[in-house]
Amino acid sequence: MQREAKLVQGNEAIAHGAIYAGARFYAGYPITPSSEIAEECSRLMPKVDGVYLQMEDEIASIAAIVGASLAGAKSFTATSGPGFSLMQENLGLAVMGEVPCVVINVQRSGPSTGLATKPAQSDVMQIRWGRHGDQSIIALTPATVKECFTLAVQAFNFAERFRVPVILAADEIVAHMRENIIFPDPGEVQVIDRKKPTVPPEQYKPFEPESDGIAPLAAYGSDYVYHVTSSMHGLDGYSNNDPANAQWRVAQLHRKLERYRDEIVMTKSYDTDDAEVLLIAFGATTRAARAAALEARKNGIKAGVLQLITLWPFADKEIAAHGKGAKKIVVVEMNYSGQVTGEVRRILGPEKDITLVNKYNGQIITPKDILEVLK
């Protein structure tokens, strides 16, 4: 039987994607424009033997998902700007404690409480650098409702595989948009579970990487007993302030992601082979960029689009490769500073013709806005 396409909102698709990936614990604090994820989880989680826990704030929300993850759950939370700011400290704990979990940040217009119902893509650098202490992070960003689903699954897969928190950086546009989507059947999309220890319990060290660079993670309540701490720790999870240990540990947190960089960094390219103008976009603005590129081609301008699906780690190699042949680079993003543009400039150098097309007034960038600079 052919499965029926459904009209689904981006936020709902994220919730369904998470549950498809095996998420069975959601903790959160409602905030526009992410609240539909909480609402959907409050309905679905009790039906799949999962838990929906509405916490007192976003600090508690991320704390709860870390706790649940260590008890063996695939867990996640969803928020927007102000809540994401509150989550930073415990997000750092998830990095330090190597706790798999997913944080959905549906970006909205700031600064501060800003334009609460309007879209933005202005948390790019906060996602990367928002926490104190030097640390790496994975962030993915969907442009369609279908990608809301598939990247939610992918976010969990990365989180589980690499024992890291993963940010799914949506924006208000894609989160509130409804599109037709066919939900995949179980087994149709790959789902990865965390690696569990196989050594006898007395030999288990929760922070000792195996040959793949990743340490297996037991669950509280299993036969394995283990410690996790936000403070500097040794392989056994107990406090360890030795400089050599700290040096190794900080590097390890970065290296485990560096090693798999090529698998983590995902991009999509549209008509880039002969492109003289390369549009670089991510999230919902990709759609305006693609529409603009097609329109430009009708007018004889060879334009192509590079969509950054993975926002962090940054697509240095891919941008270098695609940008080399292009005469002109146009970066499309909904923030004032050109947070991605700066990265593109770092990669392609000051000589390159790089133009920023941006809006930061809560309004959506249109193909027309982009075509203006392609003339």
């Binding site: 396409a5 459904k6 009209l7 609460a116 119902t117 546009i173 509130h176 948009m177 409804r178 599109e179 037709n180 919902a284 759609r287 305006a288 693609r290 529409a291 097609l294 959506i364 249109t366 193909p367 027309k368």
Partner: protein, 175 residues
């Protein structure tokens, strides 16, 4: 019939414009088309400017917002001012129960709300409008809209909505 139709439904929060857009998009999906529904709203759930946009297409929908609307529904003076003065060939439907009647060959004023309350519930005003818009533009089969309504609603509510749809269809076919 065109490959792609773009629709704007504008008014104020609480007028059911988002649901109306969803019904149109769902009907398009039933027909095997692609659909995107977006909305723009303010802080208030009730009142304040609200807009629901729908694009239905036989192709991939790239930019998600309406750029060149094929038909417009305006339910407040503010919405009417924003959209009625556009292209002379672009049909604009408006509710004469709520708005002053005005003339213009692209303006389709009908007492949607009054008709809806006679049918039993003012909430069906949008469905009357949708029936009229679908019939005039041919963007979607009204049967598809009816199927969505019977799936979405049950019993008396479904009957009322089907009547509303029919009333909307007749508004345009009578002309």
């Amino acid at each position: 019939m065109k490959e792609q139709y773009e629709v704007i439904m504008a008014g104020s929060g609480g007028q059911g414009l988002v649901v109306c857009g969803i019904i149109l998009a769902q009907a398009a999906i039933l027909e095997g088309q692609n659909a995107v529904q977006t909305q723009s709203y303010g802080i208030a759930s009730r009142g304040g400017f609200s807009k629901s946009e729908v694009i239905i297409s036989r192709n991939e929908i790239m930019f998600q917002q309406v750029q060149e609307p094929d038909v417009i529904l305006a339910l407040t003076e503010q919405a009417m001012k924003m959209y009625a003065s556009g292209e002379p060939d672009r049909p604009v439907f408006y509710d004469t129960t709520l708005l002053e009647k005005r003339s213009g060959r692209n303006l389709y004023g009908f007492p949607f709300t009054e008709m809806a309350s006679l049918l039993g519930h003012v909430g069906t005003a949008n469905i009357i409008a949708l029936g009229a818009m679908a019939t005039l533009t041919g963007m979607i089969k009204t049967d598809s809209l009816a199927t969505v309504l019977t799936r979405r609603f049950a019993g008396k509510v479904a009957d009322m909505n089907i009547k509303a749809l029919q009333a909307g269809i007749e508004l345009v076919t009578q002309d």
